[in-house]
Amino acid sequence: MAGYLFISPWIVGFLVFMLGAMVYSLVISFSRYNLATNVAKPAGTTNYALLFDDPKVAASLANTLFYAVMAVPLEICVALGLALLLNQVGRGAGFFRTVYYLPKMTPSVATAAVFLLLLNGNTGAINQALRFFGITGPQWLIDPAWVKPSIVLMTLWGVSGTMVIFLAALKSVPKDLYEVAALDGAGPVRKFFSITVPMISGAIFFNVIVLTIAALQVFDQAYLLFWRDQTSTSPEASLFYGIYLFQQAFREFNFGFASAMAWVLFVLILLISLLQVRIGNKFVYYEGEKR
């Protein structure tokens, strides 16, 4: 069948690099894997036991969840706020959309290199600005309490991808709904919660799921700011799950342990996504047929 022939690249890729990789990873996670000899000796649940005993795993997981709980709602609110603003302007919206999108084009290393200096507690521009308003800014990159907000701030700078998805959703809300609501005397707040939010609930739902999965894997910014040369100033607070997994795999070469960590993360992401889908199904409104 010619159809199968055309999709065969994907089937091979799926079988080897996704399904195969997952199974391989599961096997390794139950083994003592030696990179030099490439031999995986069965080791039962040793890696999982080690994982539960390692306080760094628990700490990194707590950090990651804390970060996600802080980052995702903020990203949703800021992105939605910006999209609402842009949706109010007719001409000129294109210009602002372009400007807002530029950070999204900036490589993560570039963002990190700049924010490393902007967030400097003593000379950084952000604290300088705060000082102007009489506020003494925190030691963003040193104080354990401010390490995660720093990364959230950098993530928010690149929030425009989410914003664009909201903007597209806002544009597809039928205008007549607002006209009818206005006739019924609904104010802007009422219109927002009774029309806008339900009508774009599909986009909100999608963004929440995608941003959560991304937040649980946060890596680039944390690595560049804190773990680039293993001299993190607040090792506890900046150790995210993705960082620890990476270190265990590619610095310590504990592939069994790292695979066990990866599977725990996979199950966790799956559970969180399923929970979100369950909650989402109650609230998400799909217009007519599902697109």
Binding site: F14, P103, P107, D229, S259
Partner: protein, 312 residues
Amino acid sequence: MATTRTQAAGVEPRTDTRPADEPPRPRRKRLSPRSKAGRVLLWSLLTLFSAAFLYPLVWLIAASLKPRGEVFDNSLIPRTFSPQNYIQVWEQLPLVSWVTNSFLIAVLAATLVTISSAMVAFGFAYFRFPGRNFLFGLVLATMMLPGAVTMVPQYLIWKNLGVLGTWIPLFGMNLFGSAFYIFLQRQFFLGLPRELFEAARIDGASYFGLFRRIALPLSIPSLVVIFIFEFQASWNNLQSALIYLNAGSVEGFTAPLGIAYAMTKYSPTNGGQGDYQFVMVATLLITLPMLILFAFGQRHFIEGVATEGRKG
């Protein structure tokens, strides 16, 4: 099909509910804020946010033009102009090799993923075969597969294939198509009139001929979208470079890995001299291609991302 044409009749005002499709751009009716004060507030907010989003980039440009002692001074106009940074940086860092490596890898990655995704998409769009919908569902499902989970086993697979130390792990996955691009391209193929293919079939074209001579030439616009999306993803990719290239020579780094290396090299805590202006120049030079790419493909980027949200 017919529903999208309804507005062509256009005699009646649109009292009926519009079809669920995205409304065509030109007939957007604005719910503009009525009051003048509202307008002023709106435009000030938009401008304020523009400043916030632009500031780090403007800061970067300024810092790249400052001498060593002034890089941290936050002034947006350098007090001492130091354009020689742009000359010295080439001696300080192997920027030419980094950019060349990144560019070649990005071109390879983008070309491969564009062709393979288009091929798979054509299989899903044109043919009917048992299990098609299930398999396509699987394609969409893999989009949710976290990269952190397959990172370790994929490394081991490449190791077993004996290609560690080459560039293959950095673009090899792209031979097999990528879920989001397959989705995008399938949508595009579904929009092509089927009669075109039927006619070519009657003329004796093979299935591969249909793909190569009809489907591909007609989808240049969407192929370009996939290409620039993947080019950007590859150009910015730090993690793969860390896994596969970090152990090699500094000349073999990609641009993001190189910048990470330079950040450490000049960091005073690492015995560097704090010559951060070089990091800033290098950073600006590797960001610039992305901004240029965006200038040319702006609409594609934004619409591509918006599409991503619509499949949910």
